[in-house]
């Protein structure tokens, strides 16, 4: 399973490099999604399926949606009419799509070869993580709850002022 690790790691490094060097933010976001997905594969190979699932759900699902939402809201390139014609030219999506195809091939290989059994190590499932979280780290969970509440209130407060000023 070393091959899967190295391949996903290489994809992740390449996607991260391309993400930080893109000119437009939305193209960088596209590559960052690929980077997150490849990191999820790395987590899976390392025997952390729960962390891999959360990486996909929260990073690629929630945080990226926030980013894309803000980029679209700010309407960075003012000439929107010009972009409507070809919203995604071949050059833009070919890179992320190619990197994702590598990940897809890897995923198919892993599933076809028996999934977790091939890893050669112990996979730590969600049950052990949950027991650890709500046993040993119960105080940490509470603190994270405080932090998230603070995040919600902070984001709401900042957004509220803007709405008031704008109207």
């Amino acid at each position: 399973m070393n091959l899967a690790f190295y391949l996903a790691g290489a994809v992740s490094v390449a996607a991260s490099l391309l993400a930080v060097t893109r000119r437009r933010a939305i193209h960088g976001l596209l590559y960052f999604v690929v980077s997150v997905l490849s990191l999820a594969v790395v987590f899976f190979v390392l025997g952390a399926p729960f962390a891999a699932a959360l990486e996909v759900i929260i990073y690629a699902g929630a945080i990226m949606v926030l980013f894309v939402f803000v980029v679209m809201m700010l309407n960075l390139e003012s000439g929107t009419g010009k972009k409507e014609g070809r919203p995604f030219s071949l050059r833009v999506w070919l890179g992320p799509a190619g990197l994702s195809l590598v990940l897809l091939a890897e995923l198919i290989y892993i599933v076809a070869s028996g999934g977790q059994g091939e890893l050669g190590g112990v996979a730590i499932g969600p049950k052990a993580v949950g027991l650890s979280l709500f046993g040993k780290y119960a105080v940490g969970v509470e603190l994270v709850a405080f932090l998230l509440l603070g995040g919600i209130i902070g984001a709401y407060h900042l957004g509220w002022h803007q709405g008031k000023k704008g109207s």
């Binding site: 399973m1 070393n2 690790f5 992740s12 490094v13 991260s16 490099l17 993400a19 930080v20 893109r22 933010a25 960088g28 976001l29 960052f32 980077s35 997150v36 990191l39 790395v42 987590f43 190979v45 390392l46 025997g47 952390a48 962390a51 959360l54 990486e55 929260i58 990073y59 945080i63 926030l66 980013f67 803000v70 980029v71 809201m73 700010l74 890893l119 050669g120 190590g121 112990v122 730590i124 052990a128 993580v129 650890s132 979280l133 780290y137 940490g140 994270v144 932090l147 998230l148 603070g150 995040g151 919600i152 902070g154 984001a155 900042l158 957004g159 002022h161 803007q162 000023k165 704008g166």
Partner: protein
Amino acid sequence: MTSVDFGTGLTLAAILFVIGLAGVIARRNIIMILLSIEIMMNAAGLAVIVAGARWGQPDGQAVFLFILAVAAAEIAVGLALILRIHHRIKSLDSDDYTQMKG
């Protein structure tokens, strides 16, 4: 312990972290800076997961969950701040933010 070498995993995390750090230093678009910070957080999470896998303990994934929550809160507040500053100074270039006082 998995078949993946401990040092190799940490090396990958270090490479990703340096990429994110270079992005934070080199980029001027503030959204890209936030994106680079996310890459750095991902690298930190990877390091924690690798350490958890090295000793076969669930602690690594538990700490990764904390990192995930911190990243989510940071992004929510950071993007709200970006919206706010874009509303006030019509620019996303961090070099343009020269009038912050008080």
